[in-house]
């Protein structure tokens, strides 16, 4: 079975550089004793270096069962536009802003850093700021919230005492979608934050704007309205569908090592109840393989909407109890729109 992990363009560039520079270097004729190294390298052999600035030894990482389905962590900025096929989202960056770095891998609680955007070196504007685009998979959220609105409300309720509320959580429409917005500031720092969140595929996708200049933030928020969403063809997302009643056939993965890490997985279940796609958000490779192989053998009771089976995506956590989600009643396999 083919699996994939995201390879950053920067990594590829670093590997290329290593390959190119390595070709030009050879080892000296005399070498020091190898000690712990085993056999000596051959004199004159081409020098092989460990690539710099590349994370080769990874901890828990995301993976997927196939190439065909987009993943949340695969978005990025190309030619001044942040695009994310999983969320069907594209957002044009402000002029002379850029994404210098990609974020860390998804967390075991379903947190994603989709992008960090800051003024580029050639930026000449009067004030600077930052934009963080993040997502929280609400299937695995570590806080009692089921959607973006509730997540914003939770953020407000638990705002640290050194911040002051500038704008209480409120609903608004941006790019034709319902968003929740919450603004706060740090008076001592003179920094303002605006958090705008919308629910997409059972994720809270958040734009966090920060700046010393409230006008800049307003300008950035206004520009969000030009953002585009394409939600055609998404499977219906159903929380907590992995129940004894809904899983008809189940093969449990037998994990070999005790790792004590939570392993969140998203599944796409087709109309016939077969698992057609598995996305492991965070797992060690051997764990991911065992769990993916097992999940692809599961069979679900088809999810019905108005009596018709529909494709769904749902989530399940391995190696740890489910998170304390707000919703307690498991879904039934029938629903109506």
């Amino acid at each position: 079975m083919f699996r994939r992990t995201r390879v950053q363009p920067t990594y590829l560039c670093a590997l290329l550089l290593v390959a190119v520079t390595g070709m030009a270097q050879t080892l000296p004729e005399t070498l020091p004793p190898t000690g712990d190294f085993g056999p000596d390298p051959q004199p004159g052999a081409v020098l092989q270096k460990v690539p710099a600035d590349v994370i080769l030894v990874k901890g828990a990482v995301p993976s997927a069962s196939d190439h065909s389905v987009p993943l949340p962590e695969e978005g990025g900025v190309v030619k001044g536009v942040y695009k994310n096929r999983y969320f069907g989202m594209s957002w044009t960056l402000p002029d002379d802003w850029s994404e210098p770095f990609g974020g860390p891998p998804p967390s075991e609680s379903g947190g994603y850093v989709l992008s960090n955007v800051v003024p580029a070196p050639k930026f000449k504007g009067p004030s600077k700021g930052t934009v963080l685009i993040s997502a929280q998979d609400m299937f695995f959220a570590p806080m009692p919230a089921d959607d973006a609105k509730e997540l914003i409300a939770y953020r407000r309720e638990h705002l640290e005492p050194y911040y002051d509320v500038e704008r209480a959580p409120a609903e608004l429409t941006i790019a034709g979608r319902p968003f929740s917005r919450f603004d706060y500031e740090s008076k001592v720092a003179g920094i303002h934050w605006a958090v705008l969140a919308t629910t997409v595929r059972c994720h809270a996708v958040q734009f966090v704007f920060s700046s010393r200049d409230p006008k800049l933030i307003e300008s950035l928020v206004k520009d969000l309205d030009a953002m585009k969403f394409d939600d055609a063809g998404w499977p219906r997302c159903v929380a907590d569908y992995v129940t004894r009643a809904n899983v008809i056939e189940r093969v449990d993965p037998v994990l070999k090592d005790r790792r004590f890490n939570a392993i969140p997985a998203r599944l796409v279940v087709d109309k016939k109840g077969r698992v057609k796609h598995v996305h492991i958000l965070s797992a060690f490779p051997e764990q991911a393989q065992l769990i993916t192989d097992a999940l692809l053998q599961w069979r679900f009771k088809p999810y019905l909407v108005n009596g018709e089976p529909v494709e769904i995506e749902t989530g399940v956590t391995f190696n740890a109890p489910p998170r304390n989600r707000k919703t307690t009643a498991p879904p039934v396999s029938t629903a109506s729109d």
């Binding site: 363009p9 712990d36 190294f37 270096k49 860390p104 609680s109």
Partner: protein, 464 residues
């Protein structure tokens, strides 16, 4: 080079230096050490004899080791066959015994002490940090093999040639070729972690850590994090650069074996290099001079002298008071207080949690239900490509590190896990990288703070 990489380099080259123009790291704070003393309750000898155990542990911590304990001034037996230095206190020295790497690196003298014939690797210098070296990958046919992760400590030195190691030669136990490892970019470094206040860290209950993690999940900086857990009981580990060690005794026992080559009750066999121990004959028996374990319970001892060195080390570290911060230096109280507030506002405190409360303690009142101002959540976080060392320990991957406790930072000479810088600004910039969880706070520091505010944060950090 891709456009993305070009942008990255431009940002690093232009934005960051310009943003910090004029701001300076105040440097190592002067004045009294503010560290190295026992907890107040221990100083008051509460409970009875606790001060004697502290003092005994401190003496053991300071003692020099030799191979058989026969070298004048080095009474403790067990050094080597492979080692990095000859005493705990030699490396844990700044600003007082129990701390981190000192200004003068003792490893230069260790190389040839008592007739040893070691070559000093180029990354060990008299004014550089004390360093432990690891090879991220094993070598195959003389080249690093990225399909074979290693990550174990490659001790710098051997006892070959020492007057107390007759018959042990470099042919039997050669040093690793650090030169080739450097040429092939297959060596990383670690510096000693300071141990002040570590009894408080040891006594923070897991429920407290979990509650703090849950609270921190509600942040707007994109920070997540997780815990490293020891592999048997599955409880949260908390010591070492990757939180790979569960307790102070494990920490002490492992260090005694790995850094000084002293086998002990926790690690009873002499330690070969990672590759050396994988096939016969392993570590040369001709270089093993003592029965094992070399450090053990002293059955004939009295009082605190009954315990092994390892237990004594752990007790010394456990009973060390946390560092005392300054309220006025550097920059004055207004700047320091402002810096503290800014530190919280821009999100540094999400990982560098200012304080956590310890659980009930059986040891001494000084550890019992007190506030530990450690500035750490004791979680491991992805720090990205700049700090990545490609070494996995427990659940921590190559770029995951425990949030370094910041207490005592004002007196530190070297920063980051490998001691690559003495400059606090460089250390902050290293948090800003591809794949780092700390990009949110570090961008706030670099982009959103004014120069004066940045200076306040630096002053605050150096006041700790």
């Amino acid at each position: 080079m891709t456009r993305r990489t070009s942008l990255l380099l431009l940002v690093l080259a232009l934005i960051v230096p310009l943003s910090l123009y004029g701001q300076v790291d105040p440097g190592v704070r002067g004045g009294a050490a503010g560290a190295g003393d026992p907890l107040a309750s221990v100083a008051a000898n509460n409970p009875a004899n606790s001060l004697a155990f502290f003092n005994h542990g401190k003496e053991a911590f300071e003692d020099l080791n030799s191979v058989s304990g026969t070298i004048p001034g080095a009474p403790d037996a067990g050094l080597g066959p492979r080692f990095n230095s000859r005493s705990c206190a030699a490396c844990h020295a700044q600003p007082a015994i129990g701390g981190s790497a000192p200004a003068v690196n003792p490893q230069v003298a260790d190389a040839t002490a008592n007739g040893a014939t070691n070559t000093i690797p180029s990354f060990i210098t008299s004014t550089g940090p004390v360093r432990e070296a690891r090879f991220p990958f094993f070598f195959t046919n003389g080249f690093p093999d990225t399909n074979r992760p290693n990550g174990g400590v490659e001790d710098l030195y051997t006892i070959a040639g020492r007057t107390d190691a007759p018959g042990c030669t470099t042919a039997l136990i050669p040093q690793p070729s650090f030169a080739l490892a450097q040429q092939t970019n297959n060596v990383i470094f670690r510096i000693p972690t300071p141990t002040f206040g570590s009894g408080l860290i040891e006594n923070i209950e897991e429920s407290t850590l979990l509650a703090n993690a849950a609270s921190n999940a509600n942040n707007s900086f994109g920070i997540t994090g997780t815990f490293n857990r020891e592999g048997n009981a599955g409880t949260i580990a908390r010591f070492g650069w990757k939180a790979q060690n569960k307790s102070l005794e494990i920490f002490a026992g492992e260090a005694y074996l790995v850094e000084q080559g002293v086998s002990n009750e926790l690690f009873q066999q002499e330690r070969p290099l990672p590759g050396e121990g994988m096939q016969s004959p392993g570590l040369a028996n001709a270089c093993k001079f003592n029965a094992t374990p070399e450090d053990l319970t002293n059955f004939g001892g009295v009082g605190e002298e009954v315990i092994s060195d390892t237990v004594a080390f752990a007790m010394f570290m456990r009973l060390l008071a946390p560092p005392v911060p300054s309220t006025t230096v550097p920059g004055g109280s207004t700047s320091i207080n402002n810096g503290r507030n800014l530190f919280n506002a821009i999100g540094c405190n999400v990982c560098h949690t200012p304080s956590l409360t310890t659980f009930r303690s059986s040891f001494t009142p000084g550890l019992n239900q007190v506030t530990a101002t450690l500035y750490s959540d004791l979680e491991i976080h992805h720090m990205g490509t700049t700090l990545n060392d490609n070494v996995s320990q427990g659940n921590a991957g190559g770029d995951q590190f425990r949030t370094a406790p910041l207490w005592g930072l004002g007196k530190r000479i070297f920063f980051l896990h490998d001691g690559r810088t003495k400059n606090l600004i460089t250390a902050i910039q290293a948090h800003n990288a591809q794949g780092s969880e700390a990009n949110g706070p570090s961008f706030n520091f670099l982009v959103n703070l004014t120069p004066n505010q940045q200076q306040d944060v630096l002053n605050f950090l150096r006041s700790l």
